[in-house]
Each structure stands twice: as C-alpha cells, then as structure tokens.
C-alpha cells in the first residue's frame, strides 16, 4: 500500500503537458480527466449506470449508482508546440484524479475525489546558441482539489437526484529558471568574473481560496427511461496564490525573497448535459460547459520580458459522445462485455484566442468476474491560437484508468 501511495504521489507531482497558459494557471484537466469520460469526448456527465462513479461537475449523478466505485486515472500526453519556424515536443505523465464513491441506498451516496484541476509542467535544459551556456527551465504547478460530495434521490420523485460537492483547494506552483552568463556586452577582460556563474530566478508559492474554505458545486439530475439530463452550477471564487520571488546562487546563497499575492477571479461554471439511450446498451450524449471570465489572469512573471497577465476569454466547451455499454453478464463474449466509446469536443480555453479541438476513442475492458475494469482512451487534437506566429499545439494522449467496483453495503434483491 505504501508503495502504491508513493507511486501515486510521484506521478501526481508530474503534470499535464500543454505550454499554453503555463505562467498563469496552466492546463485545466476537464472533468477530472476521468478515462471513461475522456473516451467519449468528455461527454456523458448525465450518463447513469450501476457504477459510473463521481463526476466533478455533476455530483448528483452518483445517487443512481448501486456499486462502490474506486477509480484511478493516468494520462500520458505527447505534445508538440509549433509555430511558423520551430517545433518543440514533450511527453509528460500525470495523474489527473482519483475518485471514490459509496452508494448508501435510500440514504443517498457519498463520494470523494482528488482532482488536479489546473497543472503546469516543464523540466527542460536548453543550450543558448549565442553564449553556448546551458539554461534550465522548470515549471511545476498544481491546483489540487479535494472534493467530498453527497447526492440523494428525491423521496417521492426517484427519477430526480440532487447533489452537492465542496472543492477544497490546495497546491503549489514553482518556477525555476537557471541561466548562464551572456558576456557579449562586456569587455573580454571582464568576462572572467561571470564564467560558470549560474544564477537561478526562482518563484514559488501556494494556492488557496480567498476568504472561503472551499467553492461549491450544486447539481440536479433527471434519469428517464431513455434519456437523462443534468444541470449544475459551480460557484465563482477567488484563487489566492502567495508567491515569493528570489535569486539563488547556490543552495545556501540566496536573497531574501520578496512576497506578492496574486488573486485570480474564477467565474461561475454552468454545465448541462444529456444522455439518450438509443437501443439497449447504445447511448449518445452531449455536454456543454460555460464560464464567463471577467478579468485577466495575473501571471507568475515578475521580470524578464514576460507578460504580467494572461488575457482571458469566455470559457466554453461542447462535447458529443457515444458509448456502447458492456454486457454485465460474465457468460457473454469478451467483446460483448467490453464497453466501447468515442466522441469529440470543442473547447475555448480560458486563455484568449486558444481553442482546442479533439477526438477520442475508448474502451472499458473488464478484468475478471467482480466488475473490475481497465478503462482506456486514446485522444488527439489540436490547440489553435489566434495570431500569426503564435505557438499551436498538437497532442496525442493515452489515458488509462483502473476502476474497481464492489457491492459493499448492498443487500441482494435491492
């Protein structure tokens, strides 16, 4: 168990790969990066079943689950950023979320998630063509949320459920830029003084919500015979990032850091979705999320020629998906028991002029008789940016989820 926890923490310390908004909040892990959702194009917030598990935007859904669900999600992304002249590629591994839900029959259901909501990651060395010196740039930022949730089906209208979750925010951000000297502007007789003298511009800080312990999501779910709907509202909040800026010359030789707090106003999120069962186990689904950003996001920045803010735009996502559920009967063929998914999405990022188009296919591969499943999703797409010469990104990702399903606390015949 200790080894597993250690592994999870190590992987969690890595983060997602996009470089867009890296100095602001980083990349948002949509819907907690859950593999089953990713396989159907991030649609299916309204899809109910025996063991769908927690949804970070629709806590009401878990009220319809009948089985205990634990899932762990991994994401490997290969990304290439390119503009008219250059290409830069990187690969990262992250653990966007793990979730646990426990249905309690007529008492509703509880859930708990750990969600890496925003993340930025980069750890590279680069050789400066002018000076020949090596520089190292490191970004490591994570806005984590611990999310307890509760959902219950209404007593006299069992097709309807209400859910609520609280998002307790924590995390940290670190930017380290180690630079060698460029002596081009000093006389040759003066260059000895800085040869091999690296300096590190270092910024680090922690995240929390300003003036509140958490922000909240409230949702309502309707499950019909063929179609299901949900509507959710997530409260606006202000993210507070206490930063300290420093110059480091060695581990023991540093300046006294200057401190600064940036505040980021995250607007309310409205989300809705529908799932329609076409025939037996075949489902089509569509989800929409929307946030109206009023203000720009202040960057870590603090010097050089970096922009001090990241301009924002309305953050909108629409996703369409399909899922063929796997058969619950163990005696059916393996293909029959396997769930198949595909979908696509279009998302406008919170970063101005950044749009993401992506598609995915996925499968839920049953492992044994007890309902344990490995979820797999392959996704790819493009993040476009507005201006000429700006960096666009192509990405290809593999998501792998381990879902454990149990029937704790459930009596036969219920």
């Amino acid at each position: 168990m200790n080894k597993l926890l250690c592994f999870i923490l190590c992987v969690a310390s890595l983060a997602s790969a996009s470089l867009l908004g890296i100095d602001a909040l980083g990349e948002e892990q949509t819907l907690g990066g859950m593999v089953n959702a990713a396989g159907r194009g991030f649609a299916g917030g309204a899809k109910t079943g025996d063991a769908e598990g927690v949804s970070v935007v629709n806590p009401a859904r878990v009220a319809f689950d009948t089985k205990v669900v634990f899932n762990l999600n991994f994401y490997i992304e290969m990304m290439t950023a390119e503009n008219d002249e250059s290409t830069y590629s990187t690969t990262t591994i992250s653990l966007p979320s793990f979730n646990f839900s426990f249905p309690m029959g007529s008492y509703g259901a509880v859930g708990l998630s750990l969600w890496q909501h925003y993340a930025s990651s980069m750890d590279e060395e680069v050789s400066d063509s002018a000076s020949g010196m090596d520089a190292a740039v490191k970004y490591q930022g994570s806005v984590y949320e611990i999310i307890p949730a509760y959902a219950v089906r209404l007593p006299f209208f069992r097709m309807m459920s209400l859910g609520a979750s609280a998002h307790f925010v924590m995390g940290n951000v670190e930017r380290s830029l180690t630079l060698g000297p460029d002596n081009n502007k000093v006389s040759k007789s003066d260059s000895w003084a800085t040869n091999s003298s690296d300096v590190t511009d270092y910024a680090s800080g922690t995240w929390e919500i300003k003036n509140h312990p958490a922000y909240y999501t409230l949702s309502m779910q309707f499950r019909g015979r063929q179609s299901s709907y949900y509507f959710s509202y997530t409260t606006p909040y202000v993210l507070k990032n206490d930063l300290s800026y420093d110059f480091r010359f060695s581990q023991l030789d540093t300046l006294i850091p200057t401190r600064y707090t940036r505040e980021i106003e995250i607007p309310a999120l409205l989300a809705t979705g529908v799932n329609y069962r076409l025939y037996k186990r075949h489902n089509v689904m569509m989800d929409v999320q929307w946030r109206a950003w009023d203000s720009d996001v202040e960057n870590v920045a603090g010097g050089w020629d970096m922009s001090s803010v990241t301009k924002t735009q309305n953050d909108f996502m629409v996703s369409l998906g399909y899922q063929r559920d796997g058969s619950p009967l163990f005696y059916d063929s393996y293909l029959d028991r396997t769930a198949f998914r595909f979908g696509g999405w279009m998302k406008s990022w919170y970063v101005k002029d950044v749009y993401e188009y992506g598609g995915s296919i996925g499968a839920g591969l049953p492992m044994g008789k007890k309902g344990t499943m490995i979820d797999l999703a392959l996704q790819g797409g493009k993040r476009t940016t507005g201006g000429h010469g700006d960096w666009e990104e192509l990405f290809f990702g593999i998501r792998l989820g381990l879902m454990g399903v149990g029937s704790w606390g459930q009596s036969r015949g219920r």
């Binding site: 990304m79 250059s86 050789s127 630079l179 030789d253 006294i256 603090g302 797999l376 290809f396």
Partner: protein, 507 residues
C-alpha cells in the same frame, strides 16, 4: 487475458512509434519558445563601476583574548605585539612519593622543555633566513601555586572550563615573578633531522630547556598531595618570536623535576605535560589605529553608507533605489560578483617571512532576521593572476588591494530599503605560496622551476622541484603588522557584475 495484453502491447508500440515520428523537436525549438514567452536562455552580464567610495565607519577590533594553543605556541615580540606563553599544570603525588623525596633531596632542579616548531623552521617555501638566532633572552617567569590534600581539590580544578581559564588568564596575578636570562643559540642544524650511519633518520633535538629559578623550587616544595600550578613566560625585550610545539604533539612541552640525595647514583626524575597552554597577547599599538596584526584575531570592520551605491544603481538602471514596493526586498537584479579596490601602500607595514599575505573579507549579511558574518568566496581572475599576482594580497608588487564582497553586496542591495549598509570585515590570513599561480589549489609540480620573488626589495630565487607539492598557503602565520591608514584616506572603487530581470535589454 492474452488478448488484452496483445491489445495493450500494440497500443504501447503504436504510441512509441507516434511519439518518435510525430512529436519531434527542432534544435532551437525550446529556445525559440522561451524567447517568445519573454524568457531568456542566458542572463546578460552588465558591469557597473562606482568610484570614490569612502567608508563611513571603520572599527578596529584588537584581539586581546588569550588563545588556547593545542598544537603550537609562540613566545617573544613581533609587530608591536608581545606574545606570552601560559602553562597550566595539575600535579598529583604518586604512590612512589616523589614529592616527599623532592622536598628532602640534597640537590633538586626543574626546567621547562619547549621544542622548536621544526615544521616552521625547516619550511623551504619561506624565502627569508629564519636561523641562526643567538641572543641572551631575558625571560620573565611568573607563577602561582595552590595545593590541596584531597581529591575534591583536584576535581575542582578539572571542572575549570577552557572559557573560565581564558577569562582567568586575563586578570591573572602571579604569586612570584622572577626575571631570568637564558642564552639562546639555534643553528639550522638544530632543527634538521640527521641521517645516521645505518641509514636511518634521527629527528632533530630541537629542545630549548628553560631552567627554573630557585624560587620556583622553593614554591614547589610547598606542594601537598595535589597541586595546581599556573605559570607564564614573557620576553618583553626580545626582538625575536620563537615558535614552539605545544601540547598535542609528540614534541610536547614538559615540566621536568629532578631530585638527588646523598648516596643516589642517579637523579630521580619526574616529567609532567601541561594540562592546558595558551598564548596571551599584549598589543602595544593604539587601540583605534587602523592596524591589523597577523597570527592573531585582529579584525577591521568597514561600513559604507548606502547613498552613493544606490544612486549609481539608480542612474544605471533608471529605477528607484532602494526598492520600496511591497515588502521592499529587491530581487530585480542579481550581483554575480562584486569587488572593491583600494589604493595600497605597504611602506608603513611590516612582515617577517617575505611572503605576500592574503587579506580575507567576510561580509555581515542577514540570516533569518539575524546578522551573520560569512567569509566571502574568492573567484580568481586567472589572467590577472598570471600577469600581476592575486589582487587580494598585501606585501606584494603593485599598488592596489582588491577584495571580493559579493555576498555583502547581494545582501545590501536586497535589503537596502530596510536601511542595510555595506558592512564587511577584513583580517590578515596566511601567507600566499601561489602568489602568481592561477591554479589556486594544491597540486603537484610537474617540472623543475625556479621561482623569482622580490623579498624586501631583493630578488630571491626559489627552486621548485618536480614532484614537490605546491600548496596555496603557508601553514604558518606571519605575525605581521599592516597599517591601513593610508588606504583609508584614498577612495575605493566598487565594481559590480550584474544580471537583471528587467526586460527590454536585447538591443
């Protein structure tokens, strides 16, 4: 189950193939991305010279604290400083009853044996002649003796801590003071090991025996079962400074007692080593003279007012200094290196070993809200060293002294808004042996060379043989005296190598 693994294997292989084919980087891809984000891949070095700096305050800390000397000790005078030797003996009468025989013997005697510091007197790197020395050394021997009969007395002596003993030495009043004269004759051969006929080497007998006066013998006779003897040697009139081994050496100092009664064919001997030894230093220089002495913990603290440095920075960057935004800690730029150059004039100063002496700077910086002193690092300018020697030495060619005060400048600019000043301390350290060798680390000499040195105006040749070890410093202090008065009268120049986070400096 096999199918699943086959499927996963295909996916893994496919992913690797995709990553190799599609997700490839240009050579300058990351560098260009960083540049577009406004992030540099190197820092532009800028230099700034600030001339005309005069210290707002100079404070001399003359070292008058006795220093416990475990391995070596000095006796005599140098540089207006008198070095006295203090001994502490704890005596316990043994079962053989030596003290009883000592009291009743017909002939008794005692002497202190001090071994010359042969590692110093045989040091080949010292270009001046240290030996021979011949003089009638006028030695002032003083002591006090207390005795007791039981173990409690001895226990009370063992409980005297080093710091308590050092404090006691500062206000020590002897019971008896006796002026004596010793004839000292030391030749070079006295300190050199000799080769015996069988090919073995015999160590030099470099002992100097200081016979104790009769009054001391009388005093010692009063000793009961346990004795505490506090003794001090001082030689106020000599012009020499003798260097001896102290206690932690096989050539340690000893107190030797002898007694012989009628009928005895041999002397009854007893040898005691000191429990502690110390050097007590008496300075004859004025307390506020801008003078530093080598070999002792003298120091000089310089303070520079902030205004001229901050004004120069303000003119250079066009920004306000000190930085007053937020908490006021300035991290807009980094001092990569800082050095302060003084005009130097060695004419009022004196050294004894003919070697240049390293001047060490230590800055006072903030450490978690408390002032802490850190010794500054030294980055050698190899080209300059090869041409004109290390710039941080005195008693050497040239007319300037350059000290690196990088940590001090970093801290000062960082905390300038809180009223920080540039404050650092200097002291004389060891003599330099690699004065114009830019290697600046201990190494093995690769070929025979002859090194020419100017010693007190004369050129001296020193042979360096292949295979010899070249040390950075001499392992012995020069008890020199350096007068900083003229240096302080002339303004100094501060040179800074800077890295700034301010943008827009590409053109």
């Amino acid at each position: 189950m096999k199918k699943k693994f086959v499927l996963l294997s295909f996916l893994t292989i496919g992913t690797l193939a995709l990553s190799a084919c599609l997700f490839d980087s240009d050579e300058d891809g990351l560098s260009n991305w960083l540049s577009d984000q406004g992030l540099p891949d190197s820092y532009k070095v800028q230099t700034l010279s600030i001339e005309g700096l005069v210290p707002s305050k100079v404070e001399v800390n003359r070292d008058s604290t006795p220093l416990i000397m475990d391995s070596r000790v000095v006796l005599g005078n140098a540089s207006n400083m008198s070095h006295e030797v203090a001994f502490e003996f704890l005596y316990k009468e043994k079962k053989d009853g030596f003290l009883k025989r000592f009291r009743s013997a017909d002939t008794i005697g005692a002497y202190i044996s001090l071994n010359l510091l042969t590692s110093f007197y045989n040091e080949k790197s010292i270009p001046v002649d240290l030996l021979p020395i011949k003089e009638d050394l006028k030695l002032n021997v003083s002591w006090s003796l207390r005795s007791g009969k039981n173990e409690d007395f001895l226990d009370s002596l063992y409980s005297i801590t080093d710091s308590a003993w050092v404090k006691m030495l500062q206000s020590w009043e002897p019971d008896v003071v006796v002026d004596t004269t010793y004839s000292i004759k030391i030749k070079e051969s006295d300190v050199q090991a000799k080769k015996k006929k069988n090919g073995k080497t015999q160590e030099a007998d470099s002992r100097i025996l200081f016979e104790m006066p009769g009054a001391f013998l009388d005093s010692f006779k009063t000793c009961k079962k346990y004795c505490y003897l506090e003794m001090r040697f001082s030689a106020p009139e000599t012009e020499n400074l003798y260097r001896f081994y102290s206690m932690d050496s096989k050539r340690q100092a000893t107190l030797n007692l002898r007694a012989k009664s009628e009928g005895d064919s041999l002397y009854d001997l007893l040898m005691y080593t000191p429990y502690r030894m110390a050097n007590v230093v008496v300075s004859n220089d004025c307390s506020d003279c801008l003078v530093l002495h080598g070999g002792v913990k003298d120091s000089m603290v310089f303070e520079y007012s902030a205004e001229p440095i901050l004004k120069a920075l303000s003119d250079f960057y066009g920004d306000e200094f000190p930085y007053k935004m937020g908490d006021g800690y300035d991290v807009r730029q980094a001092v990569v290196l800082a050095q302060l150059t003084f005009a130097r004039d060695d004419s009022d100063s004196k050294s004894y070993l003919g070697l240049p002496i390293w001047v060490v700077a230590s800055s006072f910086i903030d450490s978690s809200g408390k002032e802490r002193r850190v010794q500054e690092g030294y980055k050698p300018n190899r080209q300059e060293i090869a041409e004109s020697g290390h710039p941080n030495m005195v008693f050497y060619d040239g007319d300037s002294l350059t000290l690196q005060v990088t940590q001090g400048l970093r801290d000062f600019i960082n905390r300038a808004s809180n009223g920080a000043k540039l404050k650092f301390m200097v002291n004389l350290s060891f003599p330099q042996l690699q004065d114009n060798d830019s290697t600046y680390r201990t190494h093995i000499i690769q070929k025979d060379t002859v090194k020419k040195m100017v010693v007190y105006g004369d050129t001296v040749e020193m042979k360096l043989s292949k295979g010899d070890t070249s040390y950075v410093y001499l392992g012995h202090y020069d008890y020199a005296r350096y007068d900083f008065s003229s240096m302080m009268q002339k303004p100094a120049t501060l040179k800074l190598w800077l890295a700034t986070k301010r943008g827009g400096d590409d053109e």
